[in-house]
């Protein structure tokens, strides 16, 4: 069965996600040794030499989508169709701003489960993430991170992504039903609601990705890129600084990735 990593790079007016995906591809190639494909739309470009396949996909956009995009620095609503778009039988889907510095995620390909979803995240300073990043609303479902998940082409994955698509298409309704903490579209919320439906509206966990996402909040910046990891600075870090050797990091501050593009190229290209 073929294995690979799928990224999405949909540029916005504020952010060059194509370039961020280039960085992600360099790191994945170096640490996971897996082929990387990327889904782009017609206004996003990537370095094709870094990718196994560049899949151009421009979904039809509703007026609601266009309204939501105004002023938003990401376009999560267009991240879907995972099963149809992936060229691999076994796929690890990662956000482009999830910077991989170890081989751990490759372990998921050895698992028996058709889906591994990520329920756990910690801050780069070791603290638990905020409650709003653990639950989709007060007294509600645990959040499932769309940042990193694995699936194998299977009836189970097919069912799950059909539910994801259903929730996505009726997001306004589900925002009310689940009393979501924000009107803004988040894949994490969609995944959590779809997983709830998948479990027949009962509390339950679809197979858990055992590797929590180490999350650097937007106030944290990359101070240094080294072959084995990152040094981060920012008010949220203990004593203003944190060191991440052999540890993957989800950088919510995307601009800092672009600011260090040449350093990433120097070490990983």
């Amino acid at each position: 069965m073929s294995k690979g990593v799928l990224l999405y790079a949909m540029n916005t007016k504020q952010m060059d996600y194509g370039k961020i995906a280039n960085v992600a591809a360099m790191l994945i190639e170096c640490h996971l040794g897996l082929p990387v494909s990327v889904v782009v739309d017609k206004r996003s470009t990537v370095d094709p030499g870094l990718f196994d396949q560049v899949i151009v996909h421009t979904p039809k956009r509703s007026q609601l989508d266009l309204l939501e995009d105004r002023g938003s620095s990401w376009r999560n609503k267009e991240r879907h169709n995972y099963l149809a778009l992936t060229p691999y039988d076994q796929t690890l889907v990662l956000d482009s701003d999830y910077l991989v510095f170890n081989k751990q995620l490759a372990t998921l390909f050895d698992g028996v489960e058709p889906l591994y979803l990520t329920y756990d995240a910690v801050k780069t300073n070791g603290d638990a993430v905020e409650p709003s990043e653990r639950y989709i609303s007060e007294f509600s479902l645990p959040l499932i991170w769309g940042t990193c998940f694995y699936f194998r082409k299977s009836p189970e994955a097919s069912l799950f992504f059909e539910l994801v698509e259903y929730v996505r298409a009726n997001y306004g309704y589900f925002t009310q039903l689940y009393e979501l903490s924000t009107q803004m579209y988040r894949n994490d919320f969609t995944f959590a609601i779809a997983a709830h439906m998948y479990s027949d509206y009962r509390a339950g966990v679809i197979a858990r990705n055992p590797f929590p996402i180490v999350t650097a909040y937007p106030a944290s910046y990359i101070a240094k890129v080294a072959p084995r990891g990152l040094t981060l600075v920012g008010p949220g870090e203990r004593n203003g600084i944190s060191y991440h050797q052999d540890q993957s990091v989800h950088m919510l501050n995307k601009q800092t990735i672009l600011d260090h593009y040449e350093q990433f190229k120097h070490h990983f290209l």
């Binding site: 170890n102 751990q104 372990t107 028996v112 910690v122 070791g126 055992p210 203990r238 060191y243």
Partner: protein, 119 residues
């Protein structure tokens, strides 16, 4: 005769505190990497090569020709060759622990902030 004890300057104390904070931060990060490095895949199951799993597997190999182990997602996995499984468990644990040891040893020996921040 009274002996006078010279107190270190506050600057030196704060510098030392800052160094210790940096060491602790590096150790915390290394511990997290170690914890994640223990997870591995075997015959469809995801297992953690921690002390408890290693000990349990060792005990089972002494009594059974084959065993069922429960993985991290509660999947029962049939282990046809417990000895091979134990060997794999020990290999994963040993590699992760040796790396962790080397990392912490280097942190402890590096008594300068410049050295510690050189990730």
């Amino acid at each position: 005769m009274e002996q006078s004890m010279e107190l270190p300057s506050i600057e030196k104390t704060l510098e030392q505190a800052s160094l210790l904070a940096t060491m602790n931060e590096r150790r915390r990060s290394a511990a997290m990497v170690f914890d994640q490095s223990l997870i591995f895949g075997y015959q469809g199951g995801l297992f953690k090569a921690d002390a408890m799993t290693c000990g349990f597997a060792k005990m089972l190999t002494e009594h059974e020709a084959y065993v069922v182990m429960i993985d991290l997602n509660k999947n029962p996995i049939m282990i046809q060759d417990p000895d091979a499984f134990l060997t794999e468990l020990m290999a994963v644990y040993t590699e992760a622990a040796m790396r962790y040891y080397a990392e912490v040893d280097q942190i402890n020996k590096t008594r300068s902030k410049e050295g510690l921040t050189n990730v």
